[in-house]
């Protein structure tokens, strides 16, 4: 399930953050999509990138919807079920908008890069100016278009900023191959090179990672 709402998709298209993820995946790769929801990304990758795709999803309704459209998806939990997979079983392991909702994001990240040659991670950036402004001005937990739930209802229990995430990658010896920031309007941020700008203007960020 997707814990942060994305921007509205154009008709017949997938969400911009999912499109960014899809662009990072090489054709015909072996892909595991963790938290695949109703299978929108997996379906897109299977159809347009001809990947050998698998999915894992917490909600049974999501799983059933995926399997009913012919996708290979199991019911499972990123926190507990990744350890079943053998090392280097996939070319890409994708975790879209879910890392911040796991109990052990650090362990999940390590597991992703054990079972995949690459990991693709996207999450809502808590360093975004709107989040900072909300906390500074209102003094309450930020509610933004990207993080639209109040503190008592949000499943996002481990929110982080671009800087936080990249510090964890350094600590775990994970190489950042690509980073894309997505603005609140759902467009790709023009300034990709600077972590500081991404942290300030990226409402969401998408990373392509690999083991060192």
């Amino acid at each position: 399930m997707s814990y942060a709402t994305g921007t509205d998709a154009r008709p017949g298209d997938i969400r911009v953050d999912l499109q960014l993820i899809a662009n990072m995946v090489a054709p015909q790769a072996r892909v595991l999509d963790i938290g695949c929801g109703d299978g929108a990304l997996l379906h897109h990758l299977t159809r347009f990138k001809k990947v050998d795709g698998r999915g894992m999803e917490l909600s049974q309704s999501g799983v059933n919807a995926c399997v009913a459209q012919g996708l290979s998806v199991i019911q499972g939990d990123a926190d507990t079920d990744l350890r079943d997979y053998p090392t280097a079983a996939f070319d890409y392991v994708i975790l879209s908008q879910t890392l911040q909702a796991t109990r052990h994001p650090r362990a999940v990240l390590e597991e992703m890069l054990r079972i995949g040659r690459h990991a693709i991670v996207s999450f809502p950036n808590f360093g975004h100016w709107r989040v900072r402004w909300h906390l500074l001005w209102h003094g309450t937990m930020p509610v933004t278009p990207t993080l639209d739930q109040p503190w008592y209802a949000t499943p996002n229990i481990h929110l982080c900023t671009v800087h936080d995430f990249e510090a964890l990658c350094r600590e775990l010896g994970i190489v950042i191959e690509r980073r894309h920031a997505v603005t609140a309007h759902g467009t790709r941020s023009a300034i990709q090179s600077s972590g500081g700008f991404a942290n300030l203007f990226g409402a969401q960020v998408v990373y392509l990672l690999r083991r060192r």
């Binding site: 050998d52 698998r54 049974q60 799983v63 059933n64 995926c66 399997v67 009913a68 459209q69 012919g70 996708l71 290979s72 998806v73 199991i74 019911q75 499972g76 079920d81 079943d84 997979y85 053998p86 079983a89």
Partner: protein
């Protein structure tokens, strides 16, 4: 072939005698020189021979999956799912269902004549396993000229056969659907089977298994075995919804041991009708085959090893109220398939109908099965 009761169990289906000159080596060490497999087919095999679906029946099922059962006169046991335009579409697939080895609906089993003695086998029939049943089915496919099955589908003991098929003949199985099953029979399930077997053995009419020669039938024992087993196929919620504490055709309890309650009457009916269609010794042999099933031990204790390098696409299904083959048992299969990096889907279907849900019209289950089969058919080039 000696029939223990009137009626031809093969009906409008077929039976083939296999093994001549090429005996079937059983797990117990015995070679079956000749054996008969009774089977039904529906639909037509395509020219590429790529659209065959094998359906494996459960403990007391048979080959009459989608056509009238010649013994009971009732519709096939899965006629809600198998037929023209249905989930397992016989306009698209060539469906095969065979009576298991050890069964009593036309395939060789303990009630048949032992060529060595000219008498019914009885307890001289060799103990068979799930793997033996599958080897016999593979011989049937050889006979039918089918190299690879598009899909093997089965629930309960049928699911055990599906797993065995995928493990023994991975190259012959394009897709596999094990439903409400387990990779090993649990202690609780062995215990229930033992209750059933002891009920049969304790019936004086069982005659040490020699009842066919002595002209008796262990009706009471087999009926009790069925009654006990039938409870495990349902759920507390389903029993309560169906019967509650309702009384059977009476205003108040009789202070005796007649079937006061509807649930008692229902179970007695289940027991007595079962005796009409099933052989007691077959019940002993087939329950034993299930008890012995433990796929991991055959593969060094690691279930994942059973599926190493498999190309088969799997779809595992469990039901929330199934306490005979609960979700956790089905998930153990899924975990092993993941560990083998196999292509697997898993769905747990919400229902209060217990283990028997796999035989019923469960919309969520059918949606899953239909979606999976259609996706696989796409990959196999069966969708026009």
């Amino acid at each position: 072939m000696n029939q223990y009761k009137a009626g031809n169990p093969i009906g409008d289906g077929q039976a083939v005698t296999l093994g001549a000159g090429n005996p079937l080596g059983l797990d117990c060490g015995v070679d079956l020189a000749e054996f008969t497999i009774a089977y039904q087919t529906y639909g037509a095999l395509n020219p590429a021979r790529s659209n065959a679906v094998l359906i494996c029946h459960a403990l007391t099922g048979d080959q009459h999956v989608a056509s009238t059962n010649p013994i009971t006169g009732k519709p096939g046991w899965w006629s809600v799912a198998v037929g023209p335009g249905l989930i397992i579409d016989t306009d698209k697939y060539f469906v095969i269902c065979s009576n298991v080895l050890g069964g009593c609906m036309g395939s060789t089993g303990p009630k048949d004549i032992d060529p060595g003695t000219g008498q019914p086998f009885g307890l001289n029939f060799p103990v068979i396993t799930i793997a033996d049943m599958v080897r016999a089915q593979a011989r049937l496919l050889d006979h039918l000229g089918i190299e690879q099955l598009f899909c093997v589908i089965g629930g309960s003991m049928g699911g055990m056969q599906v797993l065995q098929w995928a493990a023994t003949y991975p190259e012959r199985v394009f897709a596999a659907v094990p439903i409400a099953t387990a990779a090993r029979h649990s202690a609780q399930n062995i215990a229930f089977h033992e209750v059933g077997r002891q009920a049969i053995v304790a019936d004086p009419d069982w005659r040490g298994g020699d009842y066919l020669n002595q002209g008796t039938t262990p009706r009471a024992g087999l009926a009790v075995a069925r009654m006990a087993a039938h409870i495990t196929y349902l759920s507390e919620a389903a029993l309560h919804r169906k019967f509650g504490r309702n009384l059977q055709n009476r205003e108040k309890v009789t202070f005796g041991f007649e079937a006061d309650f509807q649930v008692e009457s229902y179970l007695r009916h289940q027991g007595s009708t079962f005796v009409e269609r099933f052989d007691a010794n077959s019940y002993l042999y087939i329950t034993r085959a299930m008890d012995y099933f433990d796929l991991a031990t055959l593969h060094g204790g690691q279930l994942a090893n059973a599926f190493r390098n498999t190309k088969t696409r799997f779809c595992s299904v469990s039901f929330t109220s199934d306490w005979l083959f609960p979700t956790v048992e089905n998930k153990a299969i899924v975990h092993a398939l993941n560990a083998a990096a196999a292509n697997v889907s898993f769905v747990e279907v919400e229902t209060d109908k217990g283990h028997d849900a796999f035989l019923l019209d469960e919309p969520e289950f059918f949606k899953t099965l239909g979606g999976f089969l259609n996706g696989c058919a796409e990959h196999r080039g069966l969708n026009k």
